[in-house]
Symmetry: C2
Subunit: 207 residues, 2 copies
């Protein structure tokens, strides 16, 4: 395949629910592979002092209404507003780092967002993660120690370095041939960019 | 016409450049009229402590690159990054209030954004407004005193009331049949929403 699309995301992001449910189909239609890259957006938000959707704000109310409308438009399941924020201890991000390293990130993220948005049991909250991992056929006794390890901490730190280098500040981001796109509503732009740049070299780190 | 689209905007907004250059054509294609509603977004941003694109931030650099790409995609002129921020004293907003009240807001806003983005002479900066108004066939000696009047101040305050009531927090916003959309990239969604809601009553205040 000529190009891969680098999909940078944070498992606490709401709009990323839309992307996780459609990126594989859309990329395949464009003849692209997807590299799933979890990253520690929370550090970036702390550095910049940004709260994307403050409690009780008009912007947060809008975000949920917009997501409801977009799911209908895109044919993605949605019932009612799920809990938010989630993943206070970054446990879901840590597991995503492991999943990415071991090659099961797409399955993990799709099941993760279904658990959060549809079953209303966010894996990163309360004690949900262990049962969630068993439900998707992963051994919590193997996955969780690795997720909490120093090795995973170093992967998370490296992800912040990538974010600084690329100029990431949200989720989802798409990076193709060095070009950065932000927001689920830029997925089509990113794929069209990749197709138009068909004669450039592969992006660093692409599959 | 069955529906009008309420277009709420702030003349200091960068992405609104895209909308001003395409909303009339897009709305006409959908059989809709447009009501141009300038509003004082700066008060809302101060209330919420939000700086949309902080100086030197990755988000600001991204915004300009994204606007450059979107102008190409949408067939809108763009040469190089214009000055930002603009309109520190809200002079451009005040004139927009007058233009809206007197019925020449579309012409004003299109010429305003051309002056800012293409000619690189933002009407709300330095002493640009007087020459700008003469250039678009308006008498600064008539327009500017009205723009600086208490009556215009009251219109600006009323616009903040509208923003609170509707839950506006950015620019551009589109409001159709009580439904709020945010961002130039939601213009198509707003118009399709209006078409699908063809059997509901006209929005309050529509033409």
């Amino acid at each position: 395949m000529a190009h891969s699309l680098d999909f940078y995301f944070f498992p606490g992001s709401t709009y990323t629910y839309l992307t996780v449910n459609r990126i594989e189909t859309k990329a395949a239609e464009a003849g692209m592979s997807v590299r799933w890259c979890p990253y520690n957006l929370r550090v970036i938000l702390k550095e910049t002092g940004v709260t994307p959707f403050p409690p009780e704000s008009a912007k947060r109310r809008y975000m949920w209404r917009d997501i409801e409308r977009r799911t209908k438009r895109l044919g993605i399941p949605y019932t009612s507003e799920p809990e938010y924020p989630v993943d206070p201890d970054l446990k879901a991000l840590r597991v995503a780092m492991v999943a990415s390293d071991e090659g099961w990130c797409p399955e993990y993220m799709k099941a993760y967002y279904r658990a959060w948005f549809i079953d209303h049991k966010p894996p990163g909250l309360a004690d949900n993660m262990e049962a969630f991992l068993m439900g998707v056929g992963r051994d919590p006794g193997v996955v969780l120690p690795r997720a909490m390890s120093d090795e995973t901490t170093r992967m998370m730190e490296a992800s912040v370095g990538d974010a600084h280098r690329l100029g990431l500040f949200g989720s989802p981001h798409f990076v193709v041939a060095g070009e950065v796109f932000w927001g689920d509503d830029r997925l089509e732009d990113a794929l069209e960019w990749a197709v138009r740049q068909g004669d450039v070299a592969e992006a660093p780190g692409s599959l």
